[in-house]
Structures are given as C-alpha cells and as structure tokens.
C-alpha cells in the first residue's frame, strides 16, 4: 500500500516545518488522477503520527481533478 509510504512523507514534511511545535491540522490536496486513495491516507495517518508533533492532528483532504499530491497548509500551536 503506497499510501503508508506517502503518509510517512506527509508526517515528516509537517513535523520538519513545524519546528517542534504541536500540529493541530494538516490540509492535503489529492487529485483524482494521483493514484492515491484519501481514505487510505486517513487510515494510516493516526498511526504514523503517533509519537510525533502531529499526533492527534486533524486531517483535511481536498479532492482535486488532476494529479496533485501536495501538503498545502497546516495549523500549528502559536508560540507563547
């Protein structure tokens, strides 16, 4: 299942960009022609995120028509 490998990449991308801050939400763009099942990413995400700064984060997957496969935005905790 390639979605597991992709989900690992997603978690790595957001954790690196978050710089140690907690991640509340991750928004993805998954094209219909991308060969990727959003349900499978959702299925993998919680398990892959466990023990990282993305643990418990909400996943918002937006379907597009092309071959897009992007992490578009994330919401992270504000610095105090």
């Amino acid at each position: 299942m390639h979605e597991l490998a992709l989900t690992r990449d997603i978690v790595a991308i957001v954790c690196e960009a978050a710089g140690g801050r907690r991640i509340h939400k991750v928004t993805l763009e998954v094209g219909k022609m991308s060969c990727v099942m959003p349900e499978a990413i959702e299925f993998c995400f919680d398990a892959v995120a466990q023990g990282t700064r993305a643990e418990g984060a909400r996943l918002d997957i937006r379907r597009t028509d092309g071959e897009e496969l992007n992490v578009t935005t994330m919401e992270i905790e504000e610095t105090s």
């Binding site: 597991l4 990449d9 578009t72």
Partner: protein, 255 residues
C-alpha cells in the same frame, strides 16, 4: 464550550484559498493556531533522492532501466535471458526488488550477473532511497546496464521515480488486453512496452491489435516490442533498444 480546556472562544482562521472562517474552539486544539502555508509535494523527498540517483548514473554513463509488470509477467525470465545473451558485450547489474525471499536474486546470480536483493517488506514498490542503498552495495561499474526489477505491481511503482532513464512495462499474453486501460498511470509512465510470452499466442485469446490500440490510447509516445523470453523470439529488438539507450545515456551525461 470546548470540552478540553473549558474555553468558549470562537476560533478564526484563513484557509489556503483565502476564505476566512471561524468555528467553535475544537477539542483537538487547546490554543489558537497559526496557519502555515506549505505547498509541498508529498513526493518531494523521493523525487529529490531520485534526482541524486539520476545524477549518479549520468556521471558514470550507466543506463538504468526500471522494469515493471504484474506478478508473473516474466520480468526475471527476461532478465535471465538478457544477461546470458549480452553479458559478453556489456556489464550488467541488477537490483532485485521483492517483498520477501531472495529467489529472484538467486536466479539472476545463476545467470551470471551481480545482483543485490532489496526486500521491501510490507512495501509494494521500490523507492529512490532503497535504490540508493542498493547501489552502495552493488557498485555498478561505469557504462554498465543496471536493471532495477521492481516489485510485481502495476499501481504504486508508477508513482515513485527511482532515477531511472526509462521505465519498461512488461505485459504477457496470458494477461488481459485491457491492462493499459486499467492501469493507465503505469502505461503512461513507461517508455517501452514489452509484450512477452508470444510463444503462447496460439493457445490464448489475446488480441495483439487491441492491446496496441489500448496502449496507444493511454500513451501514444510509448514504443512496443513483441518477444518471448523463453524461446528467444524477438529478443534482438529488445537488445537493439538497450544498445540505443546505452548510447543515449552516455551522451546525456554531457548535455
């Protein structure tokens, strides 16, 4: 009220498309959040590693071919014959991808080529970093041909660039003619389609014209060759293709 921290605040934020909206403070975050624009391709890491492999191949004028097919289409048999027929003319190395066992690796070794078996475990495809690790073990010499035998699967290997010069998809006549239509990503990503096991054509209902039309529909640029890795019929055209690509790979290093 937020069940987590007891606050009753509304939380407002701006989405990537510019729409601003607010919703009740969710119990999945205790503090106001900062929205961060990423716009990062999920495959960026694999693609960066693939680019590194590609540069490594180019610097050594190595022709790297990524062989993909369904399980049982005849990738390993094709390689065995290719190695036996060409090893006197060209150095050939093989990275062998399978979920488990070293069975295919053993067959390649018996045919006479150096091979590194890359077991993907639960993974259904090879990724660029696995190829990089395999290369550090195999150390293929300059101007050699490197075959990367991917995991037998027509779905995922289409997505993961390994740094190869070309993907070659193998379709055997015991499969359906509709495979190019069913797995368009793979057939679109391939430069060459090999129709294998043509010695079995008299025994199966396989319409060559239809498979060619289907392949052309998804990828008009793709070349196609018919052969039998078992009898050797048609193999010479495959070797000609390899020789042309080997020359092109050597030239590409300086362009």
């Amino acid at each position: 009220m937020c069940g987590h921290c007891g606050c009753g605040e509304k939380h407002e934020h701006v989405h990537a498309d510019g729409t601003r909206h607010s919703h009740a403070h969710h119990d999945d975050h205790d503090h106001p959040a900062t929205l961060v624009e990423l716009q990062t391709r999920i495959l960026a890491k694999n693609d960066a590693l693939a680019a590194r492999n590609r540069a490594w191949f180019a610097g050594r004028e190595i022709l790297a071919v990524n062989l993909v097919s369904s399980p049982g289409a005849g990738k390993t048999t094709l390689l065995e014959r290719t190695i036996r027929d060409l090893q006197d003319q060209h150095a050939i190395g093989v990275l062998e991808g399978d979920q488990a066992t070293t069975l295919d690796g053993d067959r390649i070794r018996a045919a006479g080529a150096p091979v590194v078996q890359v077991n993907t475990g639960t993974g259904c495809h090879l990724e660029a970093d696995m190829v990089a690790r395999g290369l550090s073990d195999l150390r293929p010499p300059s101007r050699s041909v490197l075959f990367i035998e991917n995991v037998g699967n027509l779905v995922c290997p289409a997505m993961f660039d390994l740094g190869e010069r070309a993907k070659v998809v193998i379709l055997s006549v015991t499969e359906g003619e509709d495979k190019p239509l069913k797995y368009p990503h793979m057939f679109r990503a391939a430069s060459l389609m090999l129709i294998n096991k043509i010695d079995l054509l008299p025994h199966v209902d396989f319409d060559l014209a239809r498979v060619m039309a289907n392949a052309r529909e998804v990828n008009p640029e793709m070349s196609a060759l018919r052969l039998s890795a078992r009898t050797g019929e048609g193999m010479e055209q495959w070797y000609d293709w390899l020789r042309r690509e080997l020359t092109a790979a050597a030239e590409a290093a300086f362009t």
